[in-house]
Symmetry: C2
Subunit: 244 residues, 2 copies
DNA sequence: CGGAGTTTTGAAGGACGTCAACATCTGTGG
DNA sequence: CCACAGATGTTGACGTCCTTCAAAACTCCG
């Protein structure tokens, strides 16, 4: 039996919503139905831009499946990666709440399916079901704490620690257990790690090489596997190391 | 005629609420009354701690008058300043929304008067008057954008630019026009500026000395006056300078 | 006037960016 | 299947921005 794109999407949506979307936690079945009914379904193909820094923020997204990279460009052509977003996470919330332009750009790393609400619809929804607003705030609070932590790291830590922290966060957000260790679940370059850690790809490369020597990680082209998470934390938290 | 502390406070609250508190923008008079009725009035004397990093977040504050310093300590005893908060701004919102511990510490720089709601009361209020929740989100969105910008700066800019950005932000948030120029409206040390810019007090001192030579600022003990805001922006945005 | 807190300035050293060259891998098209 | 271009990763050498260390001057307050 052939299924149309919408049927497949519907199935994904149902699965997704049942498996713990933080935004809808504690929402009644009725509320959930209404939310989905008000949403637009969309797909963002790999490499496509979902929203762009500086453009007026009109929409808010829930990722059903796939992955986005949220990054910010500077006037002089540099780029930093704010974060990656995976299934069940929300995108574009900051701007939509504030009625400001998007502060960053979101690009699909792989084909990504989304539920999308525009500003007014979301406001309606949040008014009818206050728990959605509360959840959104809790999510924003979490993101904010992460930003504060990263800012603190950037101001007080040396590069090696920062890279260790970056990798630790990636383990939590996108780690996948394998036979060898924990692998970051999407292709990631040295340049990407550099843009997350506030350094250059050269320094990341050197650091990973050292860590590979020490048996802490294995890394290859667009791939990082953490063999010894404990050692990574030891570096990130600047604890005394063995064999020093 | 003698006025009790509460009368004085009441007068301040009334004045404050009429002069543009972003949190209550668009709220009905009734809603405002109710909000104030549900609030606890409090004072935080200069030097006192309003809330502390790591402690459970129970309360949410609106500053009626005074100033707070919000900072974050690292495990190894370093400190960074997240931001200063002045009259009409809110404090403790992140943690309260998320039900997490406070991610930072707030200390009164001067005697500070506050309206305080605890978690449950605020939730009640936001449910009855959704516009409050919306406003809170808009404010959080703004804070988040600021954090993202600072993170970007920290990752891509040299110290001089970062210090210039820090000062620019202070001008907007706490600048006061004087005969000479724009003065930062509270005592601020080189150490403070360093903790906001991600550098050391030595570098801040050297940089301010250079700027003083160039006629961009005047600075003294715990004091900074911007004589030439345009030049400061020129440095912050790395535009081509005259006389180079 | 003494002492604590703040600021200034110099000198030295190092962490890390920059520059450069090369190696390796992937995908594409002949 | 191979050649080739483009993207990605590695490593060395060098320079420099900025921290660190050190000492002294200044300011405020009791």
């Amino acid at each position: 039996m052939m299924l149309g794109i919408h049927s497949i999407m519907d199935a994904m949506v149902q699965t997704a919503l049942r498996s713990g979307v933080a935004l809808f936690e504690g929402l009644s079945d009725q509320g959930l139905e209404e939310a989905v009914a008000l949403a637009r379904r969309g797909k963002c193909a790999r490499g496509e831009t979902l929203f762009e820094q500086g453009k007026p923020a009109v929409a808010f997204h829930l990722i059903i499946a796939g992955r986005l990279k949220v990054s910010k460009d500077t006037v002089d052509g540099q780029q930093i990666i704010i974060r990656y977003l995976g299934a069940h996470e929300i995108a574009g919330c900051i701007a939509v709440c504030g009625g400001m332009p998007y502060p960053a750009t979101a690009v699909a790393m792989e084909d990504t399916w989304l539920l999308t609400w525009d500003r007014t619809r979301l406001a309606q929804l949040a008014e009818r079901y206050p728990v959605i607003g509360m959840n959104a705030m809790r999510i924003m609070g979490g993101r904010m704490m992460e930003l504060q932590s990263r800012l603190t790291e950037m101001q007080t830590e040396r590069v090696e620690r920062r890279i260790a922290h970056t990798l630790s966060r990636l383990v939590v957000q996108a780690g996948r257990r394998t036979a060898d260790g924990i692998e970051i679940d999407f292709p990631i370059t040295r340049q990407d790690l550099a843009e997350m850690s506030g350094t250059t790809l050269h320094t990341v490369s050197r650091t990973l090489s050292e860590w590979e020597q020490a048996g802490i990680v294995t890394s290859g082209r667009q791939k990082v596997v953490i063999l010894n998470p404990h050692a990574l934390i030891t570096i990130a938290e600047d604890l005394p190391r063995d064999g020093g």
